[in-house]
Symmetry: C2
Subunit: 223 residues, 2 copies
């Protein structure tokens, strides 16, 4: 369900934009490179400019639970900064990503004299919270099978399709899909096959084609 409104450079004053250009920096991360780590103290907020990034927590057994998928325009790390707290999750690039890094002090400065930015942040947080709660209610009650269908639709909604109009424009390992669904890698594999057998989707390595969206939606709603 993560699809937050993109960061609105429009809400920034000219002065802020200038500050940003001076104090902010653009960094590039390759697949698997980490932008920041769960438990560390934040020094900046991050705006994704190009590429794809996953936000995830790691449990004691070393398994990843992905809590958010970011796309260009998304603001990351701002919760730790706002709450003056350690990062509650880690962030890593899913594919080459370029990121605008805004030092903490600058972010607060901008926040202080921009009511528009405050209001934007409130909207953003509201959206994310709604998604988190929806996700939560789903995880608690639905079978893994339904959740997998939901994740397939989520990926489509978040990153869209290739030119063919049906192949997901993001490629994840089975393990990463498992981290999204909240299940074991083996279960993802078996259930992907099961959904394939029912004609809901097709797989080719890490490529996934959605063949029957209404069918997937129905499955995602059920159980």
């Amino acid at each position: 369900m993560p699809h937050s409104p993109p960061f609105p450079f429009e809400v920034l004053s000219q002065a802020d934009e200038k500050l940003l250009a001076e104090a902010g920096s653009v960094q590039v991360f390759q697949r698997r490179e980490e932008l920041f780590l769960e438990g560390k103290l934040p020094t900046a907020v991050y705006i994704l400019q190009r590429g794809k990034v996953k936000l995830f927590t790691t449990d004691l057994q070393g398994r990843e639970q992905i809590v958010h998928l970011a796309r260009p325009g998304d603001l990351m790390g701002y919760r730790a900064v706002l709450g003056n707290d350690a990062f509650s999750c880690s962030a890593a690039a899913l594919e080459t990503a370029s990121v605008l890094v805004i030092p903490k002090a600058l972010f607060f400065q901008m926040l202080d004299h921009s009511p528009a930015l405050s209001h934007y942040l409130i909207r953003l947080l509201t959206t994310e919270l709604r998604h988190a709660e929806h996700h939560l209610a789903g995880l608690a009650r639905k079978h893994v099978r339904s959740r997998l269908a939901e994740v397939a639709l989520l990926l489509a909604e978040t990153y869209g399709y290739e030119k063919d109009g049906s192949t997901l424009a993001v490629q994840l390992t089975r393990e990463e899909v498992a981290g999204l669904v909240g299940t074991a890698t083996e279960t993802v594999i078996r259930l992907l096959h099961s959904l394939r057998d029912e004609g809901l989707l097709a797989t080719d390595g890490r490529k996934i084609r959605l063949l029957d969206i209404p069918g997937l939606q129905k499955l995602a709603e059920s159980s």
Copy 2:
């Protein structure tokens, strides 16, 4: 994990406080009475003054998933209002609750000329989002057994204890506990017995006494 900072009347200007006194109204709800319903359009935000309230969604099979427990000082329904959207969950009193009802227009008015209120809301949303994500990661991966231990600790953290210092100051039906944990009522019953047999807690009807908090914490962390 819901324990948001209480609504700070201090951040309100004198003018706002006056408006609130004039346009706001206090309503009392008995146990099971609903403050608002999932899917309906909001007309107000709600500040809990006394009592306990659950926020929950209902799935197709009619099972409730509790997404938040509110306590005095908590603001409710503000997300639907902010997002100009239908309520994403319902709210019902767990015990007699008195609630300050603030009409939507008034809330926006207050928000518009109070940066302090904006900043407060940002903090509030940040806190709730962190809790939601933590809850989410837990639900996805942990066994029901661990989640039940977590819920017991959550209830203690949220509503505290009776005078004896160990009995939870909130009484829920087994079904409500199941709605918090995300499981079936029967499973809650069986696992409560199992935790009792291990000396982690004791039950007497709907009263629950926590006997071994470190033990419960250890269990909640694991699996």
